[in-house]
């Protein structure tokens, strides 16, 4: 069976000997919503970096749709990344571009046709509820709104998977909730979601699959899990 993402015996040791991940075996199916939890330094960021090939594992294999992404040539990496949408804690929007331009930019980069861009961008911005801010620049937006733009940008190329690294890390609880609800809606439309987070309440309320990392090891993989189960 073809899994969306499969890690087999993955370890990552950074130069200098720091062990970030150790013998990770995990399968993520199409359409799943997965929380990646654990304290700072547990390996969440490395896990994500491995998925979109910012880093290569020291040992083990990573498969995306059945394709071994550890064996990709450098010029194949962009085409992997086009099937992954990435959202960061610090949003990473281009400050001099408007909301519309920021989202359209993601389509220009993959050389989409102007007609498709004109059709698709407003739809996606509407989906994240920012139609009234099309021409605003990032500094005129609140944190929550900026994260919505980042989400729209990640979504606009119809990725198979959306990977969010601490998407609510810079947001207040109410806004965090709205972003989570938005992520959930996106997931319901069929996109696989992987969300690394510290937000205990959110994880506990959403009751999704939880992968818990501790010192680079996968210590828990639970369906409908909570942030931490007391043993």
């Amino acid at each position: 069976m073809l899994h969306m993402i499969e890690m087999v015996g993955v370890s990552k040791v950074y130069p200098g000997g720091c062990v970030a991940l150790q013998d990770i075996n995990v399968k993520i199916e199409k359409g799943e919503f997965v929380f990646l939890v654990g304290p700072t330094g547990a390996g969440k960021s490395t896990f994500i970096k491995l998925l979109f090939r910012e880093e290569l594992p020291t040992r083990g294999q990573i498969f995306f749709n059945g394709k071994n992404i550890t064996r990709l040539r450098p010029n194949e990496v962009p085409y992997l990344r086009r099937r992954l949408g990435v959202v960061f804690q610090d949003f990473r929007l281009l400050p001099q571009k408007t909301v519309y331009e920021n989202v359209a930019f993601a389509m220009e980069v993959v050389e989409a046709s102007p007609r498709d861009i004109k059709k698709r961008v407003p739809r996606v911005i509407e989906m994240v509820g920012l139609s009234h801010k099309l021409n605003a620049r990032p500094h005129e937006l609140s944190g929550g709104e900026q994260q919505r733009v980042a989400l729209a940008r990640a979504l606009v190329n119809n990725p198979d998977v959306i990977i969010a690294d601490e998407p609510t890390g810079n947001l207040d609880p109410d806004t965090s909730w709205e972003i989570m609800k938005l992520l959930n809606e996106i997931n319901k439309k069929g996109t696989t979601l992987i969300v690394a987070t510290h937000a205990k309440e959110l994880v506990d309320t959403m009751r999704k699959r939880v992968l818990q990392l501790e010192n680079g090891r996968l210590v828990r993989d639970e369906e409908r899990g909570v942030y931490r189960c007391e043993i």
Binding site: F52, E54, P74, N75, P78, Y79, L80, R81, R82, L84, V86, R92, L94, Q96, F105, A106, E108, V109, V110, E111, S113, P114, R153, N157
Partner: protein
């Protein structure tokens, strides 16, 4: 590559130039000043070369013949000189011609009634100035030749000077070429650095390296082109002025005509453009590794 992508690259490059207006201006200024300095030395160097060649080509050998030679022997000697490799042109100067020339120099009256003391001679031009000494030596060995003169010592000294002038010109040129590359790549590195965020985001979204690189390359080329265009204008105006001044005040030195300098300045333009592209490509490399 799609046409609209190319259009996008140019649009981005121009937008970036305007967005970083002051930085762009500084880059153009840096390129222009580096190339003006470089071009000035190029100008001096090619003129050194030109003057040196001019002087060199004036060096000729005179072979004086023995008084006893008859017409047949003169023909034989001429034939022998012509058969030496490296000889370009041989002119016979008879006793009578030599006297005429001498009279012109010192005045008719002075030589009235004196028997012609001058020998027959040959004036020989050689293919390349470096062969003068060698050819002279071989002419000396021909029977019937009394004496060979070619400004021995003077010629060698002249060659020495022109050799070192050329070497110095080349060295200075090389140094300034390196300095130009350094300034350009450094200035463009600043603009690339200012946009490292953008590059980073593009790479995460799934842009190919070349997609990221092109706008910066075009930007660099435009900066280099603009800078060298300014430098070229300065140099041509300056050279015209210099050429006229030298022609008017020091008539015995003939500088390279301005038309020949145009070719060099076109080269300079191509070089500035290339340096711009090279500098930006060099600067962006580090930021693509994501």
């Amino acid at each position: 590559m799609k046409f609209r992508t190319i259009r996008y690259f140019f649009k981005e490059a121009f937008a970036n130039l305007l967005r970083n207006g002051w930085m762009s201006l500084a880059s153009v200024g840096a390129v222009a000043s580096a190339l003006i300095i470089f071009g000035s030395f190029l100008m001096i160097s090619i003129n050194f070369d030109h003057v040196a060649k001019d002087v060199e080509s004036q060096v000729e050998i005179t072979a004086y013949l023995k008084d006893s030679v008859n017409q047949l022997e003169i023909n034989q000697i001429e034939y022998q000189i012509k058969s030496i490799t490296g000889v370009k042109e041989v002119t016979f100067i008879s006793k009578e011609q030599a006297l005429e020339e001498f009279k012109k120099q010192v005045g008719e009256e002075l030589l009235e009634g004196i028997e012609n003391p001058l020998p027959h001679s040959f004036r020989i031009k050689v293919e390349s100035p470096q062969e003068v000494a060698d050819v002279a030596y071989r002419i000396q060995g021909i029977a019937g030749v009394e004496e060979v003169k070619y400004g021995k010592g003077v010629v060698e000294k002249l060659f020495n000077i022109t050799y070192w002038m050329r070497l110095l010109g080349l060295a200075i040129m090389a140094i300034f070429a390196v300095i130009s590359v350094f300034i350009i790549s450094n200035t463009i590195r600043i603009t690339v650095f200012a946009r490292r965020r953008e590059i980073n985001i593009m790479k995460y979204i799934g842009a190919t390296d070349w997609f990221v690189r092109w706008p910066f390359l075009i930007e660099g080329m435009l900066l280099g082109f603009a800078g060298s265009l300014i430098a070229m204008t300065f140099l041509i105006i300056g050279y015209n002025y210099l050429y006229d001044t030298v022609k008017l005040n020091i008539p015995m030195i003939s500088l390279l005509p301005i038309e020949e300098f145009y070719d060099y300045s076109l080269g300079l333009l191509a070089m500035g453009t290339f340096l711009g592209a090279f500098g930006s490509g060099f600067s962006i490399k580090r930021f693509l590794r994501v």
